[in-house]
């Protein structure tokens, strides 16, 4: 395992540097919420993209506060009511700058478009008991309301009108006067004055949602059950954000965080995982259509005499797909088919056979990558659960057992957070590998080497955080001093983090610009272990007789028992 040693050598500096800083971390973070800061907390080499998180996570109170502030500012600057300012912002995707721009360019036009009237369009009725425009009943003046336009409706009809709209969805934020020819906007002040508490709350909720959903700078965290939002500052290419709920997602596509793979590939991969096309490929690769009824048939064992199921019941030969009634001694017995052999010589079956093989290759290739992607996914879920267990139970035990304050044990949490993050990266490298063009042999080799190293490095860290730690929790006296364990784990965390950061960068650069020390030695290492590489596949052989793909170790075909010809 010379390559592993390389990795250690290359990162020795980091190793010590980081074990020093482990203490600092705990000081920084004490009392703080540790969930949100992994991935952007530390840095040894100057990695600018990671130094400052380019986003902030917002809790509901923060959201309301931000919204209030913007409304207040705008209402002051434009000298309009808060309700009007809110309407203006809603129509301009909550961008104060946009509102300023259009307002100062064409105030009248903006007022007209959003329905902010400066003076009533109709005279408010002078009568003692004006008639409501909806129910046509007369009401005393104090039971009649109107928006800025002056169209009078009784409060009861207003309430029903607003309530219907609020219950109809977020469209209520754009509510206008009921008069069909009038476009006067209805503001929150009027809503709050007239509707029930429940509707008021619902309306306020839509207003908050609008602030997040209509605003290009903010998005809800897509994490299950999460109610936080994330505000993103453009100007940085790193789109991975991490919510306070610890869910990490990609700002661009809101799928889970997927660096180093780009959004397009992720979309393709996810689509592929859901698509039916794999089934079709499988059918094509592993079945032949019944020559009579065309139903796909899989041959899983037995002789070449196939009998289709009810109602077709056609008997045929698996090899030549001819009627079984023509077979027997004449064609060379029940396990062979001269007709097939002869025709194969003439190349009759070649096209269909080749297609079948290609499909089989493709489905096996996909399965290979998918399995590893899915395994890393579930490993990550497990690691998240372990992390939680560590946080809530084990850390306290450890603190008591080793007589260390919990703040001094932060390095354990750092290790687990790193494991979770690495599993995520590793998982996506399999989607990356699947879409790496086959002909680029050198790149593929490099990729598989890097992936293998990453996997090995992560295993070491995982082992240390999981197994080695147990020794300090159990009743037995631990094999080494706790401080040694601390520097080992903190060191491994740091090494692994650096390695994965380099890996992510290398993959993001399309493996063209591999400059880090960890990867510089690849050239000499040459024959990488190939982590989860697919090259093994090329070691299989195809049976001349039945075209089945056999593993390299088998001397005879698993399917038809023919010996391997050109072994």
């Amino acid at each position: 395992m010379d390559s592993e040693d390389d990795m250690h050598d290359a990162n020795d500096d980091d190793y010590y540097y980081s074990s020093d800083t482990a203490v600092e971390y705990s000081d920084e973070d004490d009392g703080g919420d540790d969930d949100g800061d992994y991935g952007c907390d530390h840095i040894e080499d100057s990695d600018e993209s990671n130094r400052q998180p380019n986003y902030i996570a917002l809790k509901e109170a923060d959201i309301r506060q931000h919204q209030e502030n913007e409304i207040t500012t705008l209402s002051t600057v434009l000298s309009v009511s808060r309700a009007d300012a809110s309407i203006l912002l809603r129509h301009h995707r909550w961008s104060v700058i946009n509102v300023h721009e259009v307002w100062y360019a064409d105030e009248e036009g903006v007022r007209k478009a959003v329905g902010l009237l400066e003076s009533p369009v109709v005279q408010f009725p002078n009568a003692q008991e004006p008639t409501c425009g909806i129910c046509f009943e007369s009401s005393p003046l104090d039971g009649i309301s109107s928006a800025a336009c002056g169209h009078p409706f009784c409060d009861e009809c207003w309430r029903a009108y607003m309530s219907t709209s609020i219950n109809g969805g977020p469209g209520c934020l754009m509510l206008r006067c009921p008069d069909p020819s009038c476009g006067a906007a209805i503001g929150q002040d009027m809503i709050d004055r007239l509707v029930s508490e429940e509707d008021k709350e619902r309306y306020a909720r839509y207003l908050v949602r609008s602030y997040i959903e209509d605003n290009p700078k903010t998005k809800w965290c897509p994490g299950p059950g999460c109610e936080y939002a994330v505000e993103f500052f453009v100007g940085n290419e790193n789109c991975d954000v991490s919510c306070l709920c610890s869910h990490g997602f990609c700002w661009n596509c809101t799928e889970e965080a997927h660096r180093p793979v780009d959004c397009g590939t992720v979309a393709k991969w996810i689509m592929k995982n859901n698509a039916e096309s794999e089934n079709t490929d499988w059918l094509l690769a592993n079945s032949k259509p019944c020559p009579k009824c065309k139903r796909p048939i899989e041959k899983n064992n037995g002789c070449m005499h196939m009998t289709c199921t009810y109602p077709c019941k056609f008997g045929f030969c698996w090899l030549c797909l001819g009627a079984w009634s023509d077979h027997g001694e004449r064609t060379g017995g029940f396990y062979a088919c001269n007709g097939y052999e002869a025709a194969k010589q003439e190349g009759v079956y070649d096209e269909a056979e080749r297609r079948r093989e290609r499909a089989k290759m493709s489905v096996e290739r996909y399965t290979h990558y998918y399995e590893r992607w899915a395994t890393n996914h579930s490993s990550r879920q497990k690691a998240i659960a372990d992390l939680h267990q560590m946080q809530t139970v084990n850390l306290k035990e450890l603190s008591v057992k080793q007589s260390q304050p919990e703040t001094k044990l932060e390095f354990v949490m750092k290790a687990w957070l790193q494991i979770v993050e690495c599993r995520r990266v590793l998982k996506w490298t399999y989607a990356y590998g699947y879409y790496l063009p086959e002909p680029e042999h050198a790149k593929r080799q490099l990729f598989e080497y890097l992936q293998g190293e990453a996997e090995a490095g992560l295993e070491r860290l995982h082992q240390c955080a999981e197994k080695d730690l147990q020794a300090y929790l159990g009743p037995e006296p631990p094999p080494t001093d706790f401080n040694d364990f601390r520097s080992k784990l903190a060191g491994l965390t740091s090494v692994t983090r650096t390695y994965f950061e380099n890996l992510v960068r290398a993959l993001e650069n399309g493996l063209s610009d591999v400059d880090s020390q960890a990867t510089a030695k690849i050239g000499q290492a040459g024959k990488g272990k190939g982590g989860g590489g697919y090259s093994d596949y090329h070691g299989s052989w195809t049976c001349d007789q039945c075209t089945y793909f056999n593993t390299i170790s088998l001397p005879t075909c698993e399917m038809c028992l023919q010996p391997r010809h050109n072994a």
Partner: protein, 157 residues
């Protein structure tokens, strides 16, 4: 019972001529509530003059849902009609019956709008794809068909 007040005030039917009832000041439109269900109206609209529907008497049904007037009334042609915005089940594509409904609208305004739709078909926003296509490719022929249908189904006999 808000809706009753509404239509008593604005829709009180007055008999005019032989079988025509006039709604408010709208000529050629009648609406009378069914005896079993006060929310259900039998409506008749005369085909507007200078339209392919001239001379036709079109029957419609109009139903006031529970939420009326906060929700739009449901209106449907019972008489077959060849029109790009009306499908073969008699459903009508009209904005004020859907998203543009306002509680300040009345049965009378709705029926007037439907009558106006007969005068001015809008094949660009079709409900019946085939009829609309016909209308756009060969309007003269489509109008001819509409006239034939009016003769055939809406002649009032």
């Amino acid at each position: 019972m808000v809706f009753i007040v509404r239509y008593v005030v604005r829709l009180k039917p007055k008999p005019v001529g032989d079988f025509l009832l006039c709604v408010g000041t709208a000529p050629g439109i009648s609406a009378s509530p069914s005896e079993e269900n006060m929310r259900y109206f039998n409506v008749m609209i005369l085909g507007p003059s200078q339209s392919p529907y001239e001379g036709g008497v079109f029957k419609l049904e109009l139903f006031l849902p529970e939420e009326y007037p906060m929700a739009a009334p449901k209106v449907r042609f019972l008489t077959k009609i060849y029109h790009p915005n009306i499908d073969k089940l008699g459903r009508i594509c009209l904005d004020i019956l859907k998203d543009k409904w306002s509680p300040a609208l009345q049965i009378r305004t709705v029926l007037l709008s439907i009558q106006a739709l007969l005068s001015a078909p809008n094949p660009d926003d079709p409900l019946s794809e085939n009829v609309a296509k016909h209308w756009k490719t060969n309007e003269a022929e489509a109008v001819e068909t509409a006239k034939e249908w009016t003769q055939l189904y809406a002649s009032g006999t």
